[in-house]
């Protein structure tokens, strides 16, 4: 599984696109390191994409993000050669599509790459069903078969029952579902989505993002998603490529881009991001000190004293969370010779590592002891402390764990003491 995930689906090697008549001279200037503006001034040619190089892994959602005019729409069109690159190679499953003849290229477009457009690009004279069938129709798929596939595809995007309507009768969100269904009907490996949700209003857009993530999880297609919206990019992207003036300025996971912007441009771009929607419990949790349930209350008490904390989480041998123990209860138990089990608080508040901070504010603010972060097997992974949460929201890197790895636990002790 791990190995399959690492397979390169698309490799873009130094691809450039220059628009205009003197593109050869412009390409030469580009090699000499001139900027987009200088080249425009000298030759009148516009640099659409400048020396883009990246790989897209099989099954990932790769977001290309940038402001309008940054060349992102041009770049995505190089991938299925709706626009021919001026220079460079683009390998799809190891095959260079730049070298393909018309027939081969048509086959790639028919079988391997589907595309969804910003303004839906549905055919107004065809019904929803006919629109969805289009890709199969031009491949000469038999009527009955393509109808079944189209109906199935419409069902996937939640549009069953609208088959005989025309695009003009549907709302924007529904039209884009048709656009998605049309692309899915061909069962391509790769979906290119060019600002697919940008024309939709914010609530619908969020729904569509959720549905896309769901579809992606179910079908495992490689998705290349173009957007100018950073929140959208952070929300759905496994990796993000940030573009400016036709160049890719940074490629990385959402966290990498947020936490280590590679230059001023990226930094300016990400400074307004609502961190609470991006950071998860994994990012801010601290190491949890625990005591095993079969130890006596005195051991627990000693541990709390030495760590100077007023409560401690109790786990079993497998690290599974059993409950919490306060110092007071531990003292009482020690006096009465009870076991930890007898005084254990079992209704502790837990959360998962993937929860974003917005969803945690409420429980963290009302909890009397630090909220426990557990995995799907209820194993205790860490705890969330208010101070660290606020520090992380302020963008202070020392409170944020890289890649969800807890680094520094000394800090925790001090934090906990302060907190309690």
């Amino acid at each position: 599984m791990e190995e399959a995930m690492l397979k390169k689906k698309i490799e873009v090697k130094n691809a450039s696109k220059i628009f205009g008549k003197s593109s050869k001279r412009a390409a030469q200037l580009l090699k000499e390191g001139k900027t987009k503006k200088e080249i425009l001034k000298e030759t009148g040619a516009t640099v659409g994409v400048n020396n883009a190089a990246f790989d897209v892994l099989d099954g990932e959602i790769f977001v290309i993000m940038g402001l309008s005019g940054s060349g992102k729409s041009t770049l995505v069109r190089l991938l299925n050669r709706l626009i021919d690159p001026t220079a460079g190679r683009i390998l799809l499953d190891g095959e260079d599509i730049v070298k393909m003849n018309k027939e081969q290229l048509r086959n790639v477009r028919r079988k391997k790459i589907g595309m969804v457009f910003q303004n839906f690009a549905l055919f107004p004279h065809k019904t929803i069903l006919e629109n969805t069938e289009y890709g199969l129709e031009i491949q000469g798929v038999a009527k009955e078969e393509r109808k079944n596939k189209a109906i199935e595809s419409l069902h996937l995007v939640g549009l069953s029952g609208y088959e005989s309507q025309y695009p003009g009768q549907l709302s924007g969100g529904m039209q884009q579902r048709v656009g998605l269904a049309r692309a899915l009907a061909n069962d391509p490996d790769i979906l290119l989505m060019d600002e697919a949700f940008s024309a939709l209003d914010p609530l619908i857009r969020k729904d569509m993002q959720d549905e896309l993530l769901q579809l992606h999880e179910d079908m495992g297609k490689t998705i290349i998603f173009i957007t100018h919206d950073l929140d959208e990019a952070l929300r759905i992207g496994d990796r993000i490529a940030l573009m400016k003036d036709g160049e890719i300025v940074q490629i990385g996971t959402p966290e990498e881009i947020l936490m280590n912007p590679s230059n001023d441009y990226v930094e300016r771009f990400v400074e307004d991001v609502d961190l609470s929607k991006v950071l998860t419990a994994n990012h801010i949790m601290k190491h949890a000190d625990t005591v095993q349930i079969d130890r006596g209350p005195r051991v627990a008490l000693r541990l709390m004293e030495s760590l100077r904390i007023s409560s401690i989480y109790v786990v079993d041998k497998g690290g599974r969370l059993m409950g919490a123990l306060t110092a007071q209860d531990a003292v009482a138990a020690a006096e009465k010779n009870l076991k930890i089990e007898d005084v254990l608080i079992t209704d502790v508040i837990t959360t998962t590592g993937e929860s974003v901070l917005t969803d945690l504010f409420d429980i963290v603010s009302t909890a009397t002891i630090p909220v426990a972060v557990v995995d799907e097997k209820n194993r205790l992974k860490g705890i969330i402390i208010r101070g660290a949460m606020i520090g992380a929201l302020a963008g202070d890197n020392q409170f944020i764990n890289e890649n969800g790895e807890i680094s520094d636990s000394n800090q925790v002790v001090a934090e906990v003491t302060e907190h309690e």
């Binding site: 709706l82 477009r109 457009f117 690009a121 055919f123 107004p124 031009i138 009768q169 049309r182």
Partner: protein
């Protein structure tokens, strides 16, 4: 001043050229003439076969099918009125001439329009020819047409075709060009061939424009019938021409009104046929 530059004998050259064409391609022109004449006559014979009332009803039903009840009623009354005036047969002859010329204009014009929309070179060459076809006084076509095809319905028909074809070509081209770019991109992205793109997306979407062109061609062809009658094409035009030469105002107005009625009927029917029937608002 005239002596400064020798006057080039353009007119002589053209005459020589026409003579040469007639000499060399005479049989070809004869063949075309026979074919066209037979087509027009067949049209007339078919339309003259049923009684006038039945044909008026058939036209009314066609109008109903293509457009609205109101226009169907207007068609019925209009045709019966022309019959009542006693111009039924000349009207049929005119209609046959118009329908034949428009049919040929469509058969030739639509493919040319499509070709021009696909190839910049074709457009650059053909556009000035279209300008020439539309602005050259129509009488001028008649002179060589007589040489090529003799007196009768054929030179009139040919002149009508030449005069009526440009709008169909232009609007076909325009309609195909106006198909939104993102739809073209979508057809390309799914791997359509050029023909698939044209037949499944561009031409269907250009249909309203193409029909507007056909409508214009019909109107232009109708405007040629009087001119065509001067070289011997039979029909209502002949009646108008006779009325003019004999200064009979009454007959002139009667026949003129009959032509106008036919024009209105054909115009309304083709206008409605062009409107697409897809439901709802445009996206």
């Amino acid at each position: 001043m005239n002596e400064l530059l020798p006057r080039l004998p353009f007119a002589d050259w053209i005459d020589t050229g026409v003579d040469w064409l007639v000499d060399v391609f005479g049989p070809v022109f004869d063949g075309i003439a026979t074919g066209l004449e037979a087509t027009v006559e067949t049209f007339v014979d078919i339309m003259d076969f049923p009684p006038s009332i039945l044909l008026a009803v058939i036209f009314a039903l066609l109008a109903w099918w293509f457009s609205t009840k109101k226009i169907a009623l207007f068609t019925l009354i209009g045709f019966l009125f022309i019959d009542y005036l006693g111009y039924w047969y000349p009207m049929l002859q005119m209609l046959a001439l118009v329908l034949t010329s428009v049919a040929i204009a469509i058969i030739i014009g639509v493919p040319i329009g499509i070709w021009m929309s696909q190839q910049l070179m074709a457009r650059r060459i053909i556009t000035p020819i279209l300008d020439l076809m539309q602005t050259m006084p129509a009488f001028v076509y008649l002179i060589p047409a007589i040489f090529f095809f003799n007196i009768g319905v054929v030179p009139g028909l040919v002149a009508s075709i030449i005069f009526a074809m440009p709008p169909t070509i232009r609007l076909t081209m325009l309609g195909i060009e106006q198909v939104p770019k993102d739809l073209i991109e979508a057809t390309e992205a799914f791997g359509s061939t050029t023909w698939q793109r044209l037949l499944k997306v561009q031409i269907p979407l250009a249909k309203p424009n193409i029909m507007a062109g056909v409508n214009q061609s019909i109107m232009l062809s109708l405007s040629m019938v009087v001119i065509a009658s001067m070289v011997g094409a039979p029909g209502l035009g002949t009646k108008v021409y006779q009325a003019v030469t004999q200064l009979k105002t009454g007959v002139g107005v009667e026949t003129g009104v009959a032509i106008v009625l036919v024009a209105i009927i054909l115009d309304r029917i083709t206008q409605h046929a062009g409107r697409s029937k897809q439901g709802g608002k445009e996206s």
